[in-house]
């Protein structure tokens, strides 16, 4: 066993990278669920975002346009969910699941030409002075901009939900859509906006995997992150900062367990491999022991005549 081989600074820096796709997808789904819609299609929107972003970044040479394309791609796919659940009033669980299946198939079709292609690099920021600080520099000031944007989105969602009128309306729609409707709010329109936002965030999360974390395109490369994001939203009791905590915890334990393995720590590998799931669930379950519960209208279909 040689723990000295593990560099804690690099470890923290890489856990932030590992957590970002999960964080982006989860915060998008949080907004969707706070508006009272259960979209199980996160995995599908992520993978479509991953290939849309990858393709556009490769064709234009700009990772930024790639991320923009990923957000648009994810939102476009979620538009399908909008049509099914908000217009045709289909069952949300079934629609979400089919969205994932469709997204996985569509992405491998779109990605045929991009296997083995290298995307343009997204440079890490370098702030003279700050980035050169020992310890803090590599942890806080030397990442790619998308990582900061992810944290920024968490903060923005938190602020909007807590302090603004728009956030209050969104929550009202999610808690009791009939009451919100009676007050004159456009329930369906608000939900559509939330679903599109969720799709865009999931797309960004997918593109973070294909453009930064891996970076390459491979079929099925999101490999279940979308499902973990869904679970994370529940365990985080629909609270933005807990999503951040949960994502970093999950990413952190994932990276730590790989580090421990490489350093030859004598804990059986099976326990290490399941530790990210266990630790994340445990911590968030303990945190959610307070009164918070799911949005009351979550997953229920709204029609103005009911």
């Amino acid at each position: 066993m040689d723990l000295s081989a593990i560099n804690p600074v690099l470890l923290i820096a890489s856990l932030m990278v590992a957590a970002t796709p999960l964080l982006l997808a989860a915060i998008g789904e949080l907004v969707v669920e706070r508006a009272g819609v259960l979209n199980l299609g996160v995995e599908g929107m992520m993978i479509v975002g991953a290939i849309s972003g990858f393709a556009i970044a490769v064709e234009t040479g700009s990772p930024w346009l790639g991320f923009l394309g990923a957000a648009v791609g994810g939102a476009l796919l979620s538009l399908l969910f909008v049509i099914l659940t908000q217009v045709a009033l289909a069952n949300q669980v079934a629609s979400g699941l089919s969205l994932t299946l469709f997204g996985l198939g569509l992405s491998s079709l779109m990605g045929q030409r991009y296997v083995g292609v290298k995307p343009p690099q997204m440079p890490d920021i370098h702030i003279p002075g700050l980035s050169d600080l020992p310890v803090l520099g590599p942890i806080l000031f030397s990442h790619d901009l998308m990582l900061y944007l992810g944290v920024g989105i968490i903060a923005a969602v938190w602020a909007v939900l807590k302090y603004t009128r728009a956030g209050l309306i969104l929550r009202a729609v999610g808690e009791n859509h009939d009451a919100a409707h009676a007050l004159g709010y456009k329930v369906v329109r608000i939900r559509i906006a939330a679903i599109l936002f969720g799709g865009a965030c999931a797309g960004l999360g997918g593109a973070y995997i294909s453009l930064i974390r891996v970076p390459q395109w491979t079929e099925g490369m999101t490999a279940g992150v979308g499902w973990i994001a869904l679970a994370l939203v529940v365990f985080a009791s629909w609270k933005p900062w807990r999503v951040l905590l949960g994502a970093y915890l999950f990413g952190g334990v994932t990276v730590v367990q790989l580090n421990l393995q490489a350093a030859g720590v004598a804990i059986p590998v099976e326990y290490l491999a399941m530790s990210p799931y266990l630790v994340t669930i445990l911590v968030l379950v303990i945190l959610s022991a307070d009164k918070s519960s799911a949005p009351a209208s979550l997953g229920r279909i709204f029609h103005a005549s009911h």
Binding site: A5, L11, S108, K118, T218, M221, A223, G224, A262, A263
Partner: protein
């Protein structure tokens, strides 16, 4: 004639017609563990499938299902294939072993071929490639090329095939570089690009400048490329898009000749249960071109080893070799038998870390 009887006779004619077509065509099914676009393991099996189609033209019909999870789900997929009239089914991952045996019992007239397993039945053959021969060549290059003397190894599952590869690579790296040390990470997946990339990054952060992988995607190659001065090897497929750096060589699985031969056997009615385990000599394991990033003398040494293995002159597991706990395994000059290799569940002396049980 009444409409119903007309319909019935039409249906009968159709049924006869399709029956006749079905008799002409041999239907071959493939079950894949990853997507055909993984650029590695499944990609090469699919190349084999395409070769079968090219060889027999419209005398065969091939079907495949990708991304099939190991375990009960694979049993369902195989059953469906057999019900749909497949004559021969290739199941291409270790974890399909018991499902293949189970389904084969239910369909005695369908032939099954299971890759990398060891359980056979009257209608189940097993086939595998001696990847460890390729690992010996990789180990030699890795031992010569490493400057930090740390070689990172991404394992998938602790099964004999993977353990053999680690041992073979270690033995040959150690032979040319006595200071070499292996750091092994078990990913517990065949295919998860993000996790494979993380594993590669962790190994690089801990000082590895050579990464060997036994997982299916090209993600570790991308991670090594970003890190700069790290070399990798293509796994299962050439992964030539990452040459000349980081990918300096590769192990390429060539399933096409075997798939063609077995399909022909089913057509001729000469199919019988076999246990095939071929290596570099028979062409089932190929060594991808060694790139210019490798110095000429190292390249020559690796190619000489490859030739020696191909001719049978050198066996990668030749004594004296001890097991990890120091107990004697092979005496001087003794060569490991296939039975021990097929069930290998121990590291050789010098490797640190335990095999997850």
């Amino acid at each position: 004639m009444k409409l119903t009887s007309l319909l019935a006779s039409a249906a009968m004619v159709l049924g006869l017609a399709t029956g006749a077509v079905a008799q002409d065509k041999t239907k071959v099914g493939f079950v894949y563990v990853g997507p055909v676009g993984d650029g590695g393991w499944t990609y090469e099996h699919n190349q084999g499938r395409l070769a079968v189609e090219a060889e027999f033209g419209d005398k065969v019909e091939t079907v495949f299902v990708e991304n099939v999870a190991e375990g009960p789900d694979s049993e369902r997929v195989m059953t469906q294939m057999a019900l749909n009239g497949a004559d021969l089914i290739f199941t291409t991952s270790f974890g399909y072993m018991d499902p293949t045996i189970n389904v084969a019992k239910k369909f005695p007239n369908v032939k099954f071929e299971h890759a990398t397993g060891y359980k056979t039945a009257p209608n189940v053959s097993v086939y595998s490639a001696r990847f460890y021969e390729g690992r010996a060549v990789q180990g030699t290059i890795a031992g010569r090329m490493t400057k930090s003397n740390i070689v990172g190894y991404i394992g998938s599952y602790p099964i004999p095939e993977v353990i053999r590869g680690i041992n073979s690579a270690y033995i040959h790296a150690k032979k040319v570089n006595p200071d070499v040390q292996f750091k092994i990470v078990w990913a517990f997946t065949w295919f998860d690009p993000a996790k494979e990339a993380d594993a590669a990054k962790v190994l690089i952060e801990q000082g590895a400048d050579v990464i060997l992988q036994h997982t299916d995607s090209t993600a570790p190659q991308a991670a090594a490329k970003n890190a700069g001065n790290v070399i990798t090897f293509g796994q299962a497929s050439d992964m030539g898009e990452y040459a000349p750096m980081p990918r300096v060589s590769s192990i390429i699985d060539n399933w096409a000749p075997y798939y063609i031969e077995r399909t022909r056997a089913v057509m001729d009615g000469t199919w019988e249960t076999v246990n095939t385990w071929n290596g570099i000599g028979q062409g089932m394991v190929g060594i991808g071109e060694i790139s210019d990033a490798v110095p000429a003398d190292v390249k020559a040494e690796a190619l000489a080893l490859k030739a020696a293995i191909a001719s049978g002159e050198h066996h990668p597991f030749t004594g004296p070799l001890n097991k990890q706990d120091g107990s004697a395994w092979l005496a001087e000059g003794e060569v490991a038998d296939d039975g021990t290799l097929a069930g290998m569940n121990f590291f050789v002396e010098g490797i640190t870390g335990d095999i997850p049980q």
